[in-house]
Amino acid sequence: MQLIFELSKKGRRGVQIDPLDVPDVSPPSHLCRHTDLRLPEVTELDVVRHFTRLSRRNFGVDTNFYPLGSCTMKYNPKVMDRIAAEPGFAQLHPHLSSCPAFLKECQGALALIYHLERLLAEIGGMDAVTLQPIAGAHGELTGTLLIAAYHKDKRNEKDLVLVPDSAHGTNPASAAIAGFKVVEVPSAPDGTLDREAFRAALTERVAAVMLTCPNTHGLFEPAVQQIAEMAHAVDALMYYDGANLNAIVGRCRPGDLGFDVMHFNLHKTFATPHGMGGPGAGPVGVNEKLAPYLPGPRVTKTEEGYELSEPIKSIGKIAPFFGNFLVAVRAYAYIRMLGAEGLEAVSANAVLNANYVLSRLREYFPPAFQGNCMHECVLSAVPFLQHGVKALDFAKALLDKGFHAPTVYFPLTVKESLMIEPTETESRDTLDAFCDAMIELARDASESPEKLHAAPTTTPVGRLDEVRAARELNCIYPA
């Protein structure tokens, strides 16, 4: 398929600008651009056709089952997009919040922020929530910065953060950017945190313990309360990575499990669209230990309306204003539509669907761990290595069956891992079709592995040469 740059014809226009209605003046030449501005010259129809064609070379939740583990690719209800497009939200200038005189012009937005923070605080069992963090990893960074501020304030000399080996890569990366050294704690053979290793790693130097619960093995940490108790005994704070909140939302709150700080992924649990990788949103909840350090400004409610204030010991600013506001608008609508019972049904059916997939596939693909799973199951393709078939081959072959691949090669703790998260919005019919496809592929893998090696054949391109891409580094169109 052609690039939009390859469609360019000199003199074509996509947009008409009104003629200038004031005197024509130009800045001094030495401040002006003297290079060619080589953007495409195309019509609006060229643009519409090009990007419509591009879109058809993608899988989305709207077109295909997308069982990516730890990504929670649930259906994104259209009503949320419609609400986010309200001119009163989408066209609102953020600097209206910078000046007291303008606050009365943005009361609806401030109200929504205030109420969403309260809703999330209730869902997480937290005292306060900030919507500022722009993504999940940004929430992790915010949380670990809050932890750093807390320890600095108490003059605690702590420089380590404990992170399980099953954690998402963002956990250690965020802790490192917040100025901490990362200590990895291994998993036990049953897939939960190795308690002995944890005990050994937990010294006075530990500032925080970052846990995902259920973890990326799809397992609830049964000892999470004891882990929290041990951590608190050395004044280490407990960080909850909300990536897997969909498993327990509405029925169990991180705050009640002993966590001091957490982030929510609005684009996972609260159904806002992933947008090819973003925008998401990663609000952070804290208990009373960390509330004084939250980024400002905070929206407060008074008799006169919604106002802004700075927490006394605020770490500063994490986002220019209130984070990804239009993502927050969508999540607010989602939570209000579901209510408490709806959220309970979400986690119930997310866990039901994952266990159903596990029950159908476990005899073909050995589960990495025994027993039931929570919202996702981790299987392994190791038995097929003897036929030369890897997890990656299953991933590619599934594309030909019309399914997006599960997460593969993560968690790093499981060899040839296939991590499947169906989410609550998929029907049993879809799950059955997916499981049937997986079982058929398992048979093919033993009998005719070349079929899997050749996949995918129905996608716009076949397997791509990544080595060549890295070597040539053709990252902008050269012509």
């Binding site: 947009v15 419609r82 910078s98 501020a149 709806g342 791509l464």
Partner: protein, 428 residues
Amino acid sequence: MSWIANTEDEQREMLRRIGASSLEDLFTVIPEEVRSGRLALPGSMSEFAIREHCAELAKKNDTSLVSFLGGGYYDHFIPAAIDALVSRGEFLTAYTPYQAECAQGTLQAIYEYQTAICRLTDMEFANASLYDGGTAVFEATTMAVRITNRRRIQCSPTLNPIYRRLLETHTFNLGLQIQTGVDPVGAACVIVQNPSFRGTVSDYTDLAQRCHEAGALLVVVFNPVSLGLLKTPGEMGADIAVAEGQSLGIPLSFGGPYLGILATKREYVRKMPGRLAAATVDHKGLRGFVLTLQAREQHIRREKAMSNICSNEALCALRALIYLCLLGPQGLKEVAHQCYAKTEYLKRLLPAEWLADNATTFNEFVVRLPISADQVVERMLTRGIVAGLPLHSVGAGEPTELLIAVTEKKTRGQLEFFAQSLREVVCS
């Protein structure tokens, strides 16, 4: 409403297959004493009810005022085709393009975006997007620290104060020295903004040279629309160019989602944060696109990654790309030119002694008024005008200074009414 597909009968059959007696049975691993019981949330709502409720909230935000607010975030015209295209579910509901074969739409769009940004800025590599302009300044800073192994950062006094605050917050535990100034000696980087937060335009070519002589990097924060007219970061010799991409077809959205743009030179690409798409071929020789140099990123390198970024602002990058394609070179030049000319026209309608900076400005300028800016904006509001940003409210100027932004959307009539109103409210 929870968009759950399975009927109660199906749920029962599925439970039987699993070997569980009830849905609750699936949660026995969670200790009884930490189960929360029913959450204290308001009752559920229908689609109709939530739309009415949110429309009410939206109405409490007044977007009918004629606004001269800028301060880094601008009200430009947004063509309808952008919304139509980014609403397609194949873009909107796709994940990060890790499975390249079923994400060619995303990957080619990123490649085209990277190309468009490099052509706009005259830089050699651009990443697939960061969160916003302020966090892009932070990422550029840590990138410069990695490249130079120095820990002193010089920030121009006219850098957007929000970016400065974001930079200080994000790095407060990293032991960097964040200072005000443009002295490259011993610095990892010098960060300048063009046009500055006050709207003034400069040429940083000489500074780039001084930076390079001192072994420091020059980070230029630019306004993407301005590059339809103004000298580019690449022409000046910038090492890293970053921007808030909101002005490229992204609505104001009360602060987000926005778009962090970061572009750099070839020699620094391996130190660059964020995703990067590259062209390659499949086994048949067909052109295709993949994510490349992923070993820089957190999912591979964990605590040694160039950044912790995972989710980015891909859909906003797509908006920016479509905007640049629709406008084309001529359209972007016209928009930039109109922003400049209309700003100049408004400046000429105001008393010359009010103009605070004796310099070329782009789409924004500061007036120093005889009375407080707070008082002025209050009075202007009664005339249906948001007059601009009182600079002291963002900690960036004197109480009498007002930052006024003018985009191509403002008509001559609006500018004249604004100037007349401003004279009147100041003198009243």
